[in-house]
Amino acid sequence: MHELSIAQSIAEAVDAKAEQHHATCVKTVHLRVGEASGVLIESLSFCFGLLSDNDPLLKHAQLQIDVIPHRAWCRACDSEFVVYDFIVQCPLCEGWDTQVIAGTELQLQDIEIETAS
């Protein structure tokens, strides 16, 4: 949902950081997007492409997206497991004393920029 405004936030943050470092262009934008973040990767990529086409700093930028699996930790048996369909029951002990530990991220991790030497 809201992939266009999310792409806009990414573009603004990347532009700001690139300008701060006197970049001539941005080559890569590295994101970490959780499976359970509610963000559609394809839509986000499409929207970012639309925005970057009109931005001199971003028009050659490649999006590199790490999709982070939805995972939880079981307090009772101290095991980690993959979460399917948001159901957080521990598959090992079948308990419910669990906590989501990954998969809801929506992070701008780093960028690769070109600068004039």
Partner: protein, 247 residues
């Protein structure tokens, strides 16, 4: 994981010369919605020192958020000062209803946005007299999807679901239910007339969020409202005494 982080920190200015240009990796490592989160933190800086508890109330359109607030304020007004920020796409209808209860009220009209964002709440707070407020409700735009993505500086998220919506909502809209601390099942008075299995709804809600506190009530008949209001009252009072409720 630690090794990767350390590598990144040490070599965040790694340079590879390529002719007359240099390629540099610049670490940012921030939430994409950081701008909203920053404003949400500002909101907490305003409200927490005043010992005001903040609840973000979310639901589908028509689940009964505004009616729940009317009934809650009526029961709590003598003991706890309540303030309300109303969020709707259009009209001041809900704020006008809440004003009748005597609570300090501000209406936000998003004019098309399907959820509240922190900057809207910050601007609304500037219009409120917070001196008399102990418990602030933010009634979000009716929407079971988008509001969960935006922090508003709240202490707790309360999701309201109503029996006519169906008992499978927690697994059809899991993000909303997984991100909340409290679930209110409203319109229990309609149970004799519709196919709604309360046990199933609670089981599915707890399957995506085992720590959910669940209330079943009817704003029409008043059933269950006392338990909800007693819990709210205790939540505010315990906070004022410095306790963090475990329940």
């Amino acid at each position: 994981m630690c090794l990767v982080v350390l590598f990144s920190a040490l070599f965040s200015d790694r340079r590879m010369s390529e002719g007359v240009t240099t390629v540099t990796k610049v670490t940012i490592a921030q939430n994409i919605l950081a701008a909203n989160d920053t404003v949400a933190a500002e909101i907490r800086d305003i409200l927490v020192p005043r010992h005001i508890r903040i609840l973000n109330l979310m639901s589908s359109p028509g689940a009964g958020k505004t009616t729940l607030l009317e009934q809650t304020i009526e029961r709590l007004a003598a003991k706890i000062a309540v303030g309300v920020i109303e969020g709707d796409i259009e009209t001041t209808a809900d704020a006008e209803r809440i004003e009748q209860t005597g609570a300090e009220t501000v209406q936000i009209n998003t004019r098309g946005a399907c959820h509240l964002e922190a900057h809207m709440v910050r601007d609304a707070l500037a219009m409120m007299d917070l001196k008399q407020v102990e418990l602030l409700f933010i009634e979000n735009v009716g929407n079971l999807v988008c509001p969960s993505g935006w922090q508003l500086g709240e202490d707790m998220r309360v999701v309201v679901t109503s029996t006519p919506e169906g008992d499978d909502k927690p697994v059809k809209y899991p993000e909303m239910f997984a991100a909340a601390q409290v679930l209110v099942i409203n319109k229990t008075d309609l149970l004799p007339y519709i196919d709604y299995n309360v046990h199933k709804a609670k089981r599915l809600a707890l399957a995506v969020n085992p720590q959910l506190k669940i209330f079943e009530l009817s704003c029409r008949t008043g059933e269950g409202l006392d338990d909800w209001c007693i819990w709210l009252h205790d939540y505010v009072q315990l906070h004022k005494r410095g306790y963090v409720p475990v329940d």
